[in-house]
Each structure stands twice: as C-alpha cells, then as structure tokens.
Symmetry: D2
Subunit: 360 residues, 4 copies
Amino acid sequence: MSSSNNKIPVAVLAATGTVGQRFVSLLADHPWFEVVAVTASERSAGQRYADAVSWVVPGEIPTSVADLVVRPTDSDPGDASLVFSALPGDVAREVEPALAAGGYAVCSNASALRMEPDVPLLVPEINPDHIHLIKAQREKRGWSGSIITAPNCAVTGFIFPMKALHAAFGIEKVHVVTMQAISGAGYPGVPSFDILDNVIPFIGGEEDKLESEPRKLLGTMVDGGIEPADMVVSPQVHRVPVMDGHVAALSIKLARKVSIDDVNRALEQFAAPEGVADLPGTPERPLILRKESNRPQPRRDRDAGNGMSISVGRVQPCTVFDVKLVSLVHNTLRGAAGGAIQNAEWLVASGYLGEKPFER
Amino acid sequence: MSSSNNKIPVAVLAATGTVGQRFVSLLADHPWFEVVAVTASERSAGQRYADAVSWVVPGEIPTSVADLVVRPTDSDPGDASLVFSALPGDVAREVEPALAAGGYAVCSNASALRMEPDVPLLVPEINPDHIHLIKAQREKRGWSGSIITAPNCAVTGFIFPMKALHAAFGIEKVHVVTMQAISGAGYPGVPSFDILDNVIPFIGGEEDKLESEPRKLLGTMVDGGIEPADMVVSPQVHRVPVMDGHVAALSIKLARKVSIDDVNRALEQFAAPEGVADLPGTPERPLILRKESNRPQPRRDRDAGNGMSISVGRVQPCTVFDVKLVSLVHNTLRGAAGGAIQNAEWLVASGYLGEKPFER
Amino acid sequence: MSSSNNKIPVAVLAATGTVGQRFVSLLADHPWFEVVAVTASERSAGQRYADAVSWVVPGEIPTSVADLVVRPTDSDPGDASLVFSALPGDVAREVEPALAAGGYAVCSNASALRMEPDVPLLVPEINPDHIHLIKAQREKRGWSGSIITAPNCAVTGFIFPMKALHAAFGIEKVHVVTMQAISGAGYPGVPSFDILDNVIPFIGGEEDKLESEPRKLLGTMVDGGIEPADMVVSPQVHRVPVMDGHVAALSIKLARKVSIDDVNRALEQFAAPEGVADLPGTPERPLILRKESNRPQPRRDRDAGNGMSISVGRVQPCTVFDVKLVSLVHNTLRGAAGGAIQNAEWLVASGYLGEKPFER
Amino acid sequence: MSSSNNKIPVAVLAATGTVGQRFVSLLADHPWFEVVAVTASERSAGQRYADAVSWVVPGEIPTSVADLVVRPTDSDPGDASLVFSALPGDVAREVEPALAAGGYAVCSNASALRMEPDVPLLVPEINPDHIHLIKAQREKRGWSGSIITAPNCAVTGFIFPMKALHAAFGIEKVHVVTMQAISGAGYPGVPSFDILDNVIPFIGGEEDKLESEPRKLLGTMVDGGIEPADMVVSPQVHRVPVMDGHVAALSIKLARKVSIDDVNRALEQFAAPEGVADLPGTPERPLILRKESNRPQPRRDRDAGNGMSISVGRVQPCTVFDVKLVSLVHNTLRGAAGGAIQNAEWLVASGYLGEKPFER
C-alpha cells in the first residue's frame, strides 16, 4: 500500500500495548505521518488490528488503522519509511538495529539503546543538535537507516527546568523525588491491590535511568560524540495512585549563586530553539511556569499544550542547595508516544529520513 | 465526678474534631487514663458527646464517653488533672496557657506553642530529657501546671531515622520530600474534588514546621534550655490520595563518611531509652527497618506497632549527599493523638503531673 | 456593553461555583452566545472574575471573561438577553422569577422550579415540545421573559434509554441504582476523608428527584400542560470515588413483552428529533449503544460526544422485570452546564428569546 | 508432625494466593485449628512458605507458618485432618473430591462444587442444617471425608438481610446491584489502569452466581436434599475503586405486604441459631442494622465484628417492589477465608470431621 496523500508512511511496532496504542491514537490525524503498518507479538499477528487490540487509551480506535492486519514483530514493516517502536527492552535491542540496517528510520520509546554512545537520546527542545549523532551512527554501523530514542518518561519532565537552569547558571547536583502515575507501568501494569490508598517507593530499574539520562541529554556534542554533562543526579522514585502525570520535586545545587528572580526569569524565558518551535508536536509553551502556591498538579496541568507542555511551579530557595521546584509531565503523551513522534518530526526536518523509497 | 478506678482523670479539648475523636478512641481502654470531660465549641456545648460529634474515625464511640456532656472550650475541664488538646492553633495559644496556669498538665497536639523556648516539643523515644524544660517553664511563667507539645505529624515520622543517624554520625543537611495522607488535614479537610487522581504540591504552613521542628527535637538541653541542633532541613511537601500514613523521602548529608552497613546498623539498633520503653504507648519496635525493595508503604505499614512504629526502608547511598531513605508514620496515631498520649505517659512517669487534686 | 459580533449576549449567575465555571468554560467558544455579565455572592461582587474565582474546572479561565467585573447576585444582568443560572435552590427560587418577569430568558440548572407545572423541565432530545410550556408560563405569570430548567444530573443520563424504550414499548416500572461521581456535589463538595476507598449510599434530596423528574420528562403535553408519564421509578443512589460520570444500573418493566433484540434496536435507533439535531450542543450520537461486555465506564466513556453523549450497555434480560441495562452520563457536561446551554439553544431556535432589546 | 497443643491440624491449599494468605493469617491464632501444611503450584513447591509467598494481606506472615515447606497442590496434605481450599475453580473440581475420598474434610472457598446437589453451600447463621447434606454426600460418593463450600463473596453479604426477610415474610423477587471491592479479584487482579477513577459494570461469571446461590442457601432440606427457595434474584454487578467491602443495593418483593417497621424489626431480630452463636468465628451481632442516613459504607463498616458482621442500612419502602435496603460485607473476611473457617467450625461442632487419625 502506498500512501495516497503524500504523508510519510509509518509503522508502529508493538502497536497493541499501551504506548503502541498511544502512537496509533496520536498519529491518526498527524499532518506529516500516516500509519500503514502495525506489528505485535505472534499471538496477535494475522488479526485485524481492531480485533487484536484491547483498546485502553482515551477515544476510539482510528478507523484508518482498525482494519490493518497486524504483522509479526520480526517482519518487515512494509511500505513504511519510518517506524515508531514501543517494543519491550530486550526485543528492541534486536529488532531496532535490524530495521535501521534495513534502511528504516527508527524512533524508539524503548530504553534498550538510549545510552549507546552513537544513539541520540533526544528531546527536540532540549538537545536538538544531538540528532546529528546519526552521522556517526551510520558511519560506525554501516546503516542506511537510523535509531533515535526518547528518554524515560519521568526524565522527560524534569529535564526541562534542568535545561533552563543549566543553560543559565550551570547545575552541579540534583536530588529529585518523583511521584509517578500508574499509566507509566503500561497494561496491566500496577495491580490496584497494590496502589489503591497507597504509595510504593520503588519502580524497577527507574532510578538508574534518572541518574544517567539527564547527563546525556544535557551533554555536549564533541567530535561527533556526546560528552555527558558534569553533574550528579540522585533520584528516589515513587508510584502514586494517579492516572497520568509524573510529578518531580527537585532540589538543585547551581554552579553559582543567583536570586530566585533570576531562576524564575530563566524558567520563563525557556523557549523551543529555532526550527524545533515549528514542529507540529512542539507546544506553544514547552515550559509553563506557574506562580500559584499549589501548582503544578497532575490532574489539572497534565493536559496543558495537548499534553506536551511541562508545568513547573513552587520555585523557592533551598537551604541545603540553591533552589527547589516541582515539575510535571504527562508521562504517556510528552513522556512516551508524543515525545517519540516529535523526535520523528525533528528527524524528518533535519533531513535524516532513511533511504526507503518514498516521495513526499 | 471522680474516677472510680484509680485511673488519672483526663479531659479532651476540641473533642469533636478528628484529632479529638482519635484521642477519645485511643483513651477508651488506656491503662492509666480515663476521660472524664470533653470540650468543644459553643455550638456543641451542652449536648451529649454522642449527639454533638459527627464520628468519622474507625470503630464506634466509646460508651464511657458517649454520654458525657460537652463543655464549652473556655470552661474548666472539671475533675481532670491532665488535658489533651486538639485545639486549633489560635485558640490553643490562649486556652492552653490559662489551663497550665490553673494547675493542669496540658499535652497538646496544637502547633501554637511548639517553638516556645520553654515548652517541650517532645517525642519520648527521641528527646525524653526535654521533659525537664517544664521546670524552667513553671519557674518563668509561675504555673503550677504545664504544657508539653507533640510535633507536626510528618516530622514525627522522619525524626526517627534522623535521630538514629544524628546520634551515630551527626547530620548536617537534609532534603526531605513528603507525600502526606489526606487525614492529616482533619475534617472536612481536603475536598475529593482536589485530590482524586491528583497530587497537590502544597500544604499551608507545613514546610516551615518541617524546617524548624527537627532542629528543636534533636537539640540539646543546656542550662535548662534547648540549644537547637546545628543542621539544615529543606522540605517540599505534597498531599497524595492516601487515607492515612505520611511518606517522607530523605537525602541526608552526614558529618562523616560511613558505609551503608553502618547506616543500616544505626537504624536497626535504634531503641527506646530506658523508662520510655516501658510506657504503654511505646511500641515494641519504635523504628522498623524494612529490607524489601518496595517498602515502606502507607497502606501496608502504617498500622505496625498499633500505628506507633515508624517504618524505614529503601536505604541506599546518595550521590549528592551521603544516604537516602524513605520513612513512614501513621499520621493520626503516632503523628497526632497517639503521640500526645505517649507524651502524657512520659510526663506522668517523669513526675510532672500538676497540682490538681488527684490520688492515684 | 453590546455584543460586537452578533452573538446573543448572555449572563452566568453564580459564575464562581463549579457549575458556573463550567458555564463560563463551555460558553467561551460558543457559536451563538457570548458572556457579557457574571454574578456571584456579595463577597465576590466588584472583583474581576479572574480574581474572584477559585478556578477548578479543566483548562484556563477564558480571557474574554477573566476581566468582567462580578455583579452581585440580585443585580440586573446588564445587557444580557439570556441568563444561565447555577444558583443554589433557595436563591434560584427568588432570583429566577424576578429575572423572567424582567424580560430575561432564564435557562436554569437549579432544582428549585423544575417541578412547577408551568416550567419546562427540558432535554431537547427527549421532550422538545415541552418548550411550549413557556406560553402557559408567560400567560399565567405575566412574564415577558421565561424560565426553563434542566433535570438532575443523574436523571439526565438514564432518561435517554428510558425514553427510547418508553417510546417503543411503554415503561411501567424502573428500579434504578446510581453510582455518582464526586463532581456532582460541587466544590468543596465531598470530603476526601469520606469518599477515599469508600462508597456512600446517600446523597441528600437526590432520590426524590430521581423519582419525580423522569415522569415529567416523559410526560405528554395536554391542553398546554404536562401530564406525567404513568410509571413508577424507585431509586437508590450512591456516591463513588470517581471524578466525573454518573453510572446508573436499571431494571425495567415494560408494558409488553419484547425480545432483547427489539430492545437493542430501539436503543440503536434513538436519534435527536428534527431541529434538535442541528443545535450546536447536540452530539452526533446522543445515545451510544456499547456492545462490549464491560462498558459503559465513567473514565472511558464520559467524554464521548464532547461529554454530551449518553453511553448505554450491558443490555440483558431481567428475570424480575424485563430488561436490565447500564447507562452513563458526564454529569457536569451533559448533566449540568452543557445541558442547560443546549436548552438555551433550543429555546432560541424555538423563538422564545425574551423581549430584551437585542438584534442578532 | 503432630499437633502438640490438641488443636486440629489443618492444611491450606493454594496458600500463596490472596485468599490462601487470608486463611493463613486468620488461622494463626485460631482456638481450634493449627496450620500444619500448605500447598501451592509446582513453581512454589519445595520452598519455605515465607520465601514462596508474596505477602500482600495486612500484618506479617505468622511465624508458625513461615517455615513450613510448601507442598505441591496434588500432594497429600500430611497430618492435616481438615483442609481449607482456596484453589481456582478448575483445580478445585479435581483436587477437592480426591481429598474427600481420602478422608479429609474439605472446607472450600472455590466456586466449582457449590451448586452440586449433595455439597453443602453453607453460611452457619443462614442454613446450618444444610451441613447434614454430608450424609447424602458420603453415601452417594462413598467418601469417608467430605466437602462443604462457602458462597460467593457478594452473596455472603446480602443473603443475611434476605434470610431475615424471607424467614419473616417470604421473598419473591430481588433486584440487586452490587458495587464490589477490588480485593475480590485476588492478586494481581484488577489493573489500576482499569479501575482508578472508574466503575466497571462487569465481573466475569459473577452474575450467574448471584442468581443461583441465594436460592440454594435459602432452600429447604427435603429427603436429604436441598429444595431451592422459590424466588428470583436478578443481579447487576460492578467493580468500584474500593479496597475491601462489597456493597449491595436491593429492591425486594415480599410475599405479603408489611410495614417498614416490620421489616426493621425482622432485621434487628436476626440472630445466629443456637450452637452457631457459640462458634469462635460467629460475631456477636451477625447482622448490624444501621439507622444513620448514610450507612453502611465499606471503609467505615467492613471491619465490624472483626470483619464477620454484615451491616445493613438505608431501609425504606420501594415503590416498584416492597422494600429497598443496602448491605455490606467484608468480602475477604466474612466473604472468603473467614466464612470458610466458620464453616469448618460448624462442621467440627456438628461432628462431621473425617476419619483421618486425630485425637483432640
């Protein structure tokens, strides 16, 4: 099937899971992309997508995708030029490189390859230049396609205020405590038996990601590679009975003493870099600074900017470091499928779409 | 009415509120105390307690209290020798000193007088010697009675691991992020409209208490006064949709480098001081160190030790300070009425019951 | 102030409460109406709306309303021709008739006058002809304006399947058990202390409304008045820890025996009457019949049709009556502000806008 | 191992699941029974119980059971005379008869055999004489042991008011709508992704049980068999975000007209039959009639009578039938493990313990 409307044909890998469903849902009306293929595990392969999926995200299954026949995970994603991956880590580690080698541009939400030195870990407003790691990646691996990755959902939130302050003043240390929504665990995910009327001070593997990913995201391109930012992030993560929206409370040690007014100004002035601001997925205000005493809140702020804006508030001096603040991200929109789609937009805008036959 | 069973006759002030109800409930079978008087605002005064109260705490209204006639807040608490105060701050500031002047021993849960230099801010396992501030208090104020106070409910939790580590190694700095239960706001308290599927990063006045109270609690008696501990606590507080149980995530800078084994050992060896261990309200294990990867949790751990034990877990090295851990307190038992009752036990055991006529 | 864009100028009474906020929010982009005045209690009068309101509904305060100066409840609503009332019952009973007498068309969400014989209790898809009660109303009361009312939020949901089945087969008896969202209680409304991890089998005054309102809604215009439908509705209502969306489980005795296929067909064929279907507020599918075994669900179905569609499911034979089913309504959209706005649209479309000077 | 304390040695089958854990927890201090064996699936067999179980019920693992070695499900339960079964339905259907044939008294919480004509479906306060079905069971099947079953957890609640009214006035029809807690689904059970801020109008297989089991429970022993009660029960079931406690709203058609006072009297006079009242598991008040307008409520009433009392309230006339009321049961105590243990007590008290060697 070739795309009839000059949109870029895309595939969604692991399309029946919750992140996969979010991809399908968000791509339904995308101005640049059109879903032409979906994959899932053997169990679902061969079925109509609408029959194979247990649809759990808001809204109905897009009619344009409902009738697609699900392909097995390890098959060729057909006429797609670009693939969105919601694969589990271990599968991603095998399938994604194979696709990149086959000429596909892979925009992944999986954690497997995020920390590979030649794989961009990308948030377009934060480190748009890291897209150019693709050059080194292709050269080193001999790929005609490419892989770019989106960060952990919690990191995707608090990296915004970190970026604003790091760019302005330098960050040396961060203690970050997260309160994460249950949707972050996918489906079936967290048993209600565990989380109703409760807080769980643990999410498997999460704290490692919160330690390492910010340093790469805020790192510098040097000689075609990333030099990690020279800072230390120490996280403590919690699951809370909230549907969507990860809250992070940060205490930050800056490289130099500044006033709270300076901090507020740096946050307020945060803006998407040129080019990035024009992407369909970039919200008008990527970072929204709230001045009320009791914001941000997941239920009230997660949908800001169609779920793509990061809300920051409770900015105040910290007596053990320099500044404290609270940030909030919609973990399944900006923090997962929405972020990976915006990454794909940036990849396309940067001219890195692979060699798969495609005329726009 | 005089107590027929040689128990100490006590009164509960503001007995119709949630903390007042907890006092009434916990005192129902207390081995030392018997409730002989209850007070409330003008609106309830003159009614039977069972008619005046809108009972919202677990269990039924104790029959021994149900028929007591509610007295107005500013009246004399009758034959009581000791009064438990659940008064709101502004009222406490007036009523409690008047009662102390009248010879009553006032064990308060109110915040009004906690930071007064001559008023003990007391947790028996933490700073039992602070009870002797009563001497200075009586001398300075000319009271025959006394006032002792229990700390903020969140502080009451994390002060246990802080005490264990401060005693062993010295604490210099703490960044603490709390996730607090809705019962901490009393009744009606937090609207469900605000907290269902949500986190609120703000509790009025709370952060000030978390900054100041730990320093007094861990302070030293010098010349009959308290010299605050030389440390800095920087808090960020949150309300979460949990019924009971305040969680606190702490990152701690110690005065000297120690291993995590040392930290665990210090926490495990925490024990109630002599004398304190024998109080009816002191749990067998005041601090329970949990080794599972996902504990403590409010719903699963808040009732440990009849709601009087503090559960601590997730002890791990911290890359920005020295050690991270998570602690949990049952905020309406240990953190409110239960703590104030244990304080009263310690006051009695220490010989400070006032001059009110009473034969045990 | 006259409306610059040929929209009908409207006022919102009690505009700072939750229903009032919903009115303001929904009217922000309404194709026919423009908010030119807002009223609230004395306490708020004279302030900017944005300063007076504690905004708790989704989204931000519409900029077109933020700067309006709040008028006192009993004042003249200025240049408005039409007023939306979110007044509490007792106030509505006085203010609304005074406004109708003054020539205003009052579209009320209050319960005060719903059961008055000459006041339309209206849902445009259900009983559009009842709008003509306005004739009798004006004649009897000598009003140049009018009052129309929207039903109770729970009734607004299950009246849809009742209408479909009553029209097709006749309904004799209904036992209905509701599970109602906390937003139905307004703000602050239900304390989280009462509803977290709980169900409350009581809502003050609610069961009376569920008994009486359906009979009026399904009643027949006879001689310019409403003859109530000859049926009996017996309700049991519950509050559940859900944010938005009232669920109702119904067992229905029909006037004649029919198959479940007949029932499903009657539900599927439900459609908005001519004229009503064209209103801006009428959803494409007013009644959505769901065939899945586990729908409708509040969180997944409440937003269907922009919160204006009623979802029905779990249709099955009943061994004590004839048919059982479950219906769901978004209680603050279709069941409150959204319904009252659609009523206003129908009033305008029916030519009953009052005599207030206004050129469209 | 023989029991050293003259308690009856018992085994718990499927001891690592949530119901199995409740059995282990409740039996820890049981005056008559002592757990000497635990079984689980192959995966856990051979491990220490404390190592095999993921403990999720309140309190800690009883030390007396922690060190037992888990046996495989199909093995002999050792020195036990009596076994408690928390087996899943399909396994129960095979394993329980084999054990009964082997001389064990099996007290089951499984649904598999509940409706077998010769298997008692028992609630001691409701139908104590049904225990004598064991005679027919042994005769027909040639067993030296026996099987008795406890009803569905929701049925166990509303059968109490049904029994009271059926005994007094006769019941002809019941429409019952349930709001069931998530603990009823076991572990991991209901995903939080499905139930947070939601109601699910479906529980697989549940409505069939609510239709059939009440008729057997209220049936009459005739010629050694059960003649089901001549009544019709039509259920609609829902899952709600509540931890423990199933609520049922009933509308009941009685065989004769009676006043609400009569109904209240019948409910108030409900008492455990002679013999049953003396069992350790029988609460002082098996049915608690609440007169407040807003009770029973799961969180406030589920623990009444140690979780073994049924709370009933909201008794009012019904315009479509005769009487409406709301009942509440603690689904994992009275409605599961607690009920099965009380059943075992009644079996022992009735002299039906099997032939397994045991001296009390």
